[in-house]
Subunit: 425 residues, 4 copies
């Protein structure tokens, strides 16, 4: 079972050491086929070089655990505090994000050294600390591990974005391509309304933005049994979905016009067929696979066209709370969503993140953590929409029903799709 | 009593004619001191020329009432359909919004003719229609009147914005300046939690976005007795409020840096004192008057600095629902917020719009109106935040407890301030 | 004969008063059909409102003549020094050029007052000054008059640009439209090479950039007998001229692609025919009329396509120096180029400015005037190309063989065309 | 002696093979200390990755020599034709220049293979061709070698630009730093006027833009004996040179304001001293070393401040034509300009490129080469200014008196300085 299902304060030194080792090694396993040039690419300000992710996740442990809690710790390079700080103003100024791809030195080998340096110090800290102190630190260590899991997903999506500019469409991750299979028939699943509790509960790890547990009222609603497929999305496109302003939010229609959007990200037309750039290279669009790389605006327009709507994040959470947290995750090393022949509410977790109709905002009574770590989630609570459910690039064991992901409505480089909802009549 | 408090289906021909006449004449009264050059100014894409507002509000009646319901109606100029359509894709293409200020012809006199042409036709329609048809049309006529009231407010805020670029700081509206008076002492007012109903109810006019009436759960909370004053905001500024990233949302801090923001809109420093451009010209900042021309980001940062937060739109609605809809509105012709010596929950209505923490979104079960009129509100439900309560530039009689205004978080040219809230301990 | 052909020091008080009066009145005559809204339009940073031109030309007399030379002079409004300064850093800061259209006050009536105020003071100055002082001032007065003539041309081109955004294509100047007539046959005219003198000579007025008189060597060359016609340009377009990068300068090709240029400014296609917006409204393109509203890049590409080249400014000056300064100028009040049935080197002056291959640069030994007036021409000697010959919007009497106009290579809103040249074999 | 001083048609197979080998190996020697990440950096659209330069110079030989002249030639990768084409529309479309840094694959090892592949094919071609054919091809081979020498200089300046964004200021080239020495005293050197010949003459290699040889007239002038030093430039800065609009061209002043320029590129102030990023890392500014990394605008403003001007390119060429082509070039592997204690006209070649007052334009009678190679120089003849003399990063043997370099007036990332001129009284 994932360390994320356990009470951190009951993890002993060996548990933590193993969890740490497992997460850190899985980052390095993910990138083992990438060359130094690959690791240095940055294709837009929203994305970062692989090398930077590998360093920044180490910086996180160094900054929030080693520097304050291991007195003997000596940083490998004093310049890294500035270079690998993402956005923590409480720690200090940051190297400008859009220029991360201009840092060739430290090179990837030096970053590997940095990771080893931090790994050694963390293992040393785990050995040295007495159990009560360790219990106190455990939540922060788990935060560091969950943070690294999040950056593992970004490594996949950021490099996919960068590689998409290469006219040769080289594969980037998980070179083994397998057919997606077939979907079960679509169905509507109904849910009663009522006053329910939402958000994370219990001793296991969760991010601050999933709390506090609180009550909210839901009207009765229905949810689609499966994420929207490429076949359904192609029907929307064939029906002029990208040319009909009445289906779009006003900001979405402007975005579409200014950016010249007429298909999901990474799609192109060739001899009458739709192709897309996937992590295993150029592939024909597979009708049964869940649609992904949609913006919120496209997801909204599709839902309008369907005569339905996006679910709110609370509807989604309510609907899935009893389901097992299983799905098509990164541990399968097939970095593309896949069809599912299962019936009932399928693929709630994995395959694609699902846009919801909910703006990312604080739960009633929310207070971010103290100090710079408090900048992790709270300061992003404007202009972003919540996505739920995880994707094929999310680490297995990383998710739960209350998990909230969030992106700006125009962003498409995540594995982002949707599930339909409608209000019960 | 305002026609907005009555059941539109109980208004007879004379009621409607009088309401129409009153609203239309108040638009013309508002702009009577403006010259033709004044009326043609457009200082940013978000704002429109006064002349355009005068024409567009007429276009609204022409498009949604006269063309479909008065068979004998002849448009004054066929080009106006395109020129004065704001954003109704269902009606057709629109002249590009950022270029409205480039239209010198029709000039202001021609627009006056256009208004008279439409006025005559509407009065003719009111006389001709049989009572049952009139009852059916009444909601649409009231929509047109409320629409014109909204544009009256925009006439004030848009021209104030344009005039602010004139180094001579000429007065634009309501040249009579009066001192603002003194505020009562600030107080926190407590409210019980529970499951309550929200949104508009009853036969009187409301916009579609205020509906449907629905239930939601509130935790106990407290609200500030009055809008935040300039004195309080100056204390925030003196305490380095604009230089401390920990007080700001991430998008807000970027906005502040990119735009070089360090004070509310229209403020400048002169010999150690803060001045601002008001509708009556350059004035020293009055400490007791409610702070206004804030972005959502600034309102948020101020609330953080205060150890408080913004209220949600539902907390606001719950707190004010029993209060009379009174306040400092446009009928006073003093287009600047004013202090209030009253105690209890004061100035809920009028003086300044109050930013809430709520993203502008559909209420559960929301469905926009059929046809092009359905574009009025619904398609803007992304990236905007709700403001409540009305301002010194809002038409008296225009508001109610369920009224939802909305703007993008960086926008500041409305009379936008805030009221503090906090969760009850 | 124009005052520009005479020795300024031989003009007496009456001559100067009459010249001043004539130029100033011709500005007012030009704009008499324009309403206040028309006069306030600014459609791009390169262009200014008509009202601003009327004020700025008055500012020029006020700043460089009245303030220094008429002790009793009192400015009408002290704010005008800042508001109507175009680019003279030596005079002080300037109101931002892109915002000139946001100044509704002073309105057009107040600007008329300003013009009268300055006119009165100038006439007073002319009466008061003793003849020797007047002789000294005369060159500066003539500079002011030539300056106003230049702004008369800009009034036409700037307002034409602004009106082009009006979908109704209203006429702006010279409402009488007349057919253009037919051209004589095209011919090549040959010129011997040699060491020649260039630039202005003699006592009559000229701008500083036309001096000093200097020697330069020309190889033998040929010049087209007439400006390039629309018919010839249409042949270039039909031959794919806008789609063939090999015809274009690299910067020109980029400009074309980024801006989406595929025809001269103000042209559009309607039912298979080319139309254009002219000062008398929408008109079909007239094949015999000289092509205009071209950028330097388009002129270059056309010349490449023709197997020819643009003339250098010195070739042009050498070729026309013996010709009379006659042509289709603004005094005809037909603000569009016209065909000419004359033979020999025709239309050297008037109809269209002709792009040359010469970058605008200082002549050897050039020194700009002392003081702020020295900013008139010299500081623009980078990134601009010289045009020669004047246009249908240039004041009659304003030009001479050595006259140098200059614009950036992408600018098209002047009446700018070309004449072909080639090196003699 | 450099192959550039010889008649290409007199070079035999062995001469060409040796010249080819020498130039190609010097490229690889230049970059031998760079890692794969270094070679992939692109810091602005004007600059390219080192790896791209290495591939593009090979592409040039492949495209213009191997494909048309070696029938057995097989490209290593068909995608390279598109990927490594810089701007030759005659060859086909090009991968977008601003995205060159996003191409991680082919990686640097694959580019090394590409270079070897081309090298082998060229050596094979040199062996196979009969002498008459070789004589015909020799000018094209020399063009390829000169092209590669130009890109060697760009490798230095482009990577220096990229490394300048690294806060650690890592050295990039020629890590041996040596003090610059002291300058001789500044002197003015006079030149007679007259009608002279300019441009390249004789059988040795030159670019098409240096021809044809032609006559032009020069007035008498004087030239500074040495390039302007940092000490002189610091005096300009101390005298408010960056704050005085009267010293600047209008476009230069706008550029300075928009970009916030107040020192040469790569300079910063630290504890009251000026430092700069050099190829050997951060260094204090050396007063005696020639000023470099100036834009044309800064060079112009400095000359104005000095009461002098920039020389025209013809004045420069006339003044240096008798001097030996010696100086501080790239073969010294010290990539920074240096002082010179010599007297007379010093450092005409090497150390810094010298901005001239001449816009880059065709010489009278200029015709570019036939086919795609004709795009090499001619299509850039707009908006650029000529620089003369070469720099510390120019290959020794690459230059001559008639050599014309050219950049846009705002560009500063070359080793660009200036030499003063003035007109003889
Ligand atoms: Fe992070
Ligand atoms: Fe409207
Ligand atoms: Fe002027
Ligand atoms: Fe090249």
């Amino acid at each position: 079972r994932s360390f994320n299902r356990l009470d951190p304060r009951k993890l002993d030194q060996a548990d933590l050491a193993e969890a740490y080792d497992r997460v850190r090694r899985s980052t390095e396993a993910l990138i083992e086929s990438l060359g130094p040039e690959d690791q240095n690419l940055q294709s837009m300000p929203d994305a970062s070089p692989v090398k930077w992710h590998r360093a920044h996740t180490s910086w996180f442990f160094e900054t929030f655990i080693l520097k304050p809690h291991l007195p003997a710790y000596r940083p490998l390079d004093p310049g890294y505090e500035y270079l690998f700080n993402s956005y923590y103003n409480g720690v200090g100024r940051q190297y400008p994000r859009p220029r991360r791809g201009l840092i060739s030195r430290p090179d990837q080998a030096a970053v590997t050294d940095y990771r080893r340096h931090v790994d050694g110090a963390i293992q040393q800290l785990l050995i040295q600390l007495d159990p009560p102190t360790l219990r106190q630190l455990a939540p922060l260590i788990l935060l560091g591990l969950n943070h690294e899991q999040q950056h593992q997903e970004l490594i996949v999506t950021d490099l996919k974005h960068a590689f998409s500019f290469n006219p040769a469409h080289p594969p980037c991750f998980g070179t083994r391509h397998e057919p997606s299979g077939q979907n079960a028939a679509f169905d509507w699943l109904g849910f009663e309304g009522g006053l329910f509790e939402f958000g994370h509960e219990g001793p296991a790890f969760a991010f601050d933005n999933e709390m506090p547990r609180h009550r909210a009222f839901l009207a009765p609603f229905e949810l689609g049994s499966q994420p929207v497929s490429c076949a359904a999305y192609l029907a929307f496109m064939d029906d002029g979905g990208y040319e009909r302003p009445e289906l779009w939010l006003s900001d979405g229609w402007s975005w579409r016009q200014v950016e010249g959007i007429d298909a999901p990200l990474y799609w192109w037309r060739e001899d009458g067929d739709w192709w897309h750039y996937s992590c295993t290279g150029a592939r024909p669009v597979d009708p049964d696979s869940p649609i992904c790389h949609l913006s919120f605006y496209e997801a909204w327009a599709f839902a309008e066209w369907s005569g339905a709507r996006l679910p709110s994040e609370l509807e989604w959470e309510h609907a899935v709370r009893a389901l097992p947290i299983e799905g098509h995750f990164a541990d399968r090393r097939r970095f593309h969503p896949e069809a599912s022949a299962a019936t009932g509410l399928t693929q709630a977790y994995g395959s694609v993140w699902e846009w919801t109709s909910s703006a990312y905002a604080a739960y009633p009574g929310f207070r971010p953590g103290k100090g710079a770590v408090g900048e992790y989630n709270g300061k992003f609570m404007a202009n972003q929409m919540v996505l739920r459910g995880g994707s094929c690039a999310t680490a297995a064991g990383h998710l739960r029903a209350s998990y909230r992901n969030f992106f700006h409505p125009h962003q498409r480089w995540q594995f982002s799709g949707l599930r339909l909802a409608r209000s019960a009549s």
